[in-house]
């Protein structure tokens, strides 16, 4: 399942550049995919990051007992060359190279942090956090702001702050070219959210491990008492 998702992410992100190459080489068009027609504003590497972060929703959790072939590092390794294509495409398009390089590094860091945190969390925790924070908050903000159909409609600030912690929301802003300038573009909130999730997952795993060891100890003492009792009874 995870292999299929990774393959789909690779296909979808690479398709952006294959279509770009075909549209520029073809005399007949597909011009919607060419830079001249600008099928999407902003950054190509942002779109690649968006696709790969969307693929995070399929990461296996710690409850997955099978040996994991696609770890965070191997998934990242698969994504790296496609990120290079996006970075080069943005630089060719006249975007400031230092800025796009820094944002690419930020996108890779965000992807790796969320991937690692989700892999450590239990299935329930990972699903809850991803659904509520990464998907739910941005969708709720969009529903409130677009659904209001009024100019200047804004979702509550708490909700917008939660939405800013979503890696998907940050990647979409990167892709659409609406990230603020300078340090404000760095995805501090998504990185912090991934760190909190990793800590929670670690503590949860440690807690369940402790409970598990305590449970084993109780069972041993019970077994010991039972055997003593039986001995005593026998005696």
């Amino acid at each position: 399942m995870r292999g299929w998702a990774v393959a789909l992410a690779l296909f979808a992100s690479a398709a952006i550049f294959v279509l770009e190459a075909v549209s520029l080489a073809s005399p007949f068009g597909l011009t919607a995919w060419a830079r001249g027609a600008e099928f999407a504003p902003g950054s190509r590497v942002g779109w690649v990051a968006y696709v790969w972060c969307a693929a995070l929703s399929c990461l296996p959790s710690a409850s997955d007992a099978r040996p994991r072939r696609w770890s965070t590092s191997s998934t990242l390794a698969l994504a790296l060359p496609v990120f290079a294509l996006g970075l080069a495409s943005d630089v060719r398009a006249g975007v400031e190279p230092l800025r796009v390089a820094a944002l690419t590094a930020c996108a890779l860091a965000t992807f790796a942090a969320w991937s690692a945190a989700l892999a450590r969390a239990s299935l329930a925790l990972a699903a809850t956090v991803w659904s509520a924070l990464a998907l739910g908050a941005p969708l709720l903000v969009a529903a409130l702001e677009w659904g209001a159909a009024a100019d200047g409609a804004r979702a509550p600030s708490v909700l917008r702050a939660l939405s800013s912690a979503s890696p998907l929301a940050w990647c979409h802003a990167f892709a659409a070219g609406t990230l603020p300038p300078g340090w404000h573009a760095v995805p501090f909130a998504p990185l912090a959210a991934a760190s909190v999730l990793a800590v929670l997952a670690t503590r949860g795993a440690a807690g369940s491990g402790a409970r598990s060891s305590m449970g084993n100890a109780g069972a041993t003492s019970r077994r010991h008492a039972t055997s003593s009792g039986s001995t005593e009874a026998g005696e």
Binding site: M1, W4, A5, L8, A12, A14, A15, I16, F17, V18, E20, A21, S23, L24, A25, T31, A32, W33, A34, R35, G36, A37, E38, F39, A40, P41, W47, Y50, V51, A54, A55, L56, S57, C58, P67, R69, W70, S71, S73, S74, L76, A77, L78, L80, P81, V82, F83, A84, L85, L87, A88, S89, D90, V91, R92, A93, G94, V95, G177, P181
Partner: protein, 378 residues
């Protein structure tokens, strides 16, 4: 299933954006406006936000207590003839005093002959997509990583090598010039028109341009203005995905066929008033216009003469379509390409300086501009 939904929704979003943003590439009004700002130090950087039209990033070097008034270019909203809106700025120390009309430039633009304005604008080199070799490396790296996914360190190493290889291939220096310039003249009329066109970004060095058009005209325009020196503002206009066309007036008159005052021209084509094209080869500085390299076919209404004309024109070195389409009929035209590589031909330079105005760039340097000369009515 969740994974398929996630990746599928991203692909769908790409497609929807693709259809929604498929706009025709048309150049409209000038997207350049001017505001006067008052800057008080200490101030090193400020942003003038013009909303959907774009923004201006202003670099300054003002010490504490220092004050300076500046005329700063800002992007105008597309499709608006006289944009009167003021940009927003969150920078303390920068106050927008108001819009400053560019009446002088508007009058100069209105005085221009329609024949000049309708001549085709220069077309920059077509946008280059990813190289086939890069796509091959991506596939090869993906196959290798998939094969050795369980060995994490090796997979990561291969991914990093693939990243570096693809980046090195994609960012290799291109032979194509960054911008294309065409200098338009009409014999017997004073002055000329200079048009410079570039994809994605254009340096607005020298005097303020007469106009700056962007195609497609609704693309967000970003201007980086450097006011740290003593001279005029150094401005770079950026519109990723768009073609920027800058228009300037030239004070010098057209060249005379008796003597080339513009510098060495590598290739010269000449269209007679009856529509026949001849290739004249190179035209060196100070020399009269050379004769045709190939004898023109005999003029006449016979079918064989027409075939001869077509054969003779087929034998000419190819001339880019944008240079000759839309030229008025019945008028002789000269089209010349300046010798490459070039570093000069900036606004105001091609005015007949001694030794040729089209300066050569240092040996081995990539050409920054491709310069064409187009003279009508010779």
């Amino acid at each position: 299933m969740t994974a398929l939904l996630g990746v599928g929704s991203a692909a769908l979003a790409l497609l929807v954006f693709g259809v929604a943003r498929a706009v025709p590439a048309t150049a409209g009004e000038s997207r350049l406006g001017y505001v006067e700002v008052s800057a008080s130090g200490p101030l090193e950087r400020a942003t003038l936000d013009c909303g959907a039209a774009g923004k201006t990033e202003l670099a300054l070097a003002l010490a504490a207590g220092e004050t300076r008034n500046l005329l700063v270019p800002v992007p105008n909203a597309p499709g608006v003839v006289a944009d009167a809106s003021l940009p927003n700025t969150a920078s303390t120390g920068l106050t927008v005093l108001g819009r400053r009309g560019d009446d002088e430039r508007a009058r100069a633009l209105a005085r221009l002959s329609v024949a000049w304005l309708t001549r085709p604008a220069p077309q920059p080199a077509p946008a280059r997509g990813p190289r086939v070799a890069s796509l091959f490396f991506v596939v090869a790296a993906a196959a290798f990583v998939a094969r050795f996914a369980a060995r994490r360190a090796l997979a990561l190493l291969v991914g990093a090598v693939g990243f570096a290889l693809v980046l090195a291939l994609e960012l290799a220096p291109s032979e194509a010039p960054r911008s294309v310039v065409v200098l338009d003249f009409t014999a017997g009329e004073p002055g000329g028109l200079r048009r410079e066109s570039a994809r994605h970004a254009l340096e607005l060095q020298g005097d303020a341009p007469l106009s700056l058009a962007v195609a497609p005209d609704d693309v967000r325009l970003e201007l980086n203005a450097d006011a740290r020196g003593e001279g005029p503002l150094q401005v770079v206009a950026r519109a990723p995905g768009a073609v920027l066309v800058r228009l300037d007036l030239l004070e010098s008159g057209p060249p005379e066929p008796t003597a080339n005052r513009f510098g060495d021209l590598a290739d010269v084509w000449f269209r007679e008033s009856d529509g026949r094209w001849t290739f004249r080869g190179d035209w060196t500085f100070g020399e009269p216009l050379p004769g045709a390299r190939s004898a023109p076919p005999p003029a006449g209404p016979s079918a064989s003469a027409g075939a001869e004309t077509r054969r003779a024109e087929d034998a000419l070195p190819p001339l880019a379509g944008w240079l000759q389409t839309g030229l008025p009929q019945g008028v002789a035209f000269l089209i010349g390409r300046a010798v490459e590589p070039l570093a000069g031909a900036a606004p105001g330079e091609p005015t007949g300086a001694s030794g040729g105005a089209l300066e050569r760039s240092p040996a081995g340097a990539a050409p920054t501009r491709e310069v064409w000369l187009r003279v009508g009515g010779l």
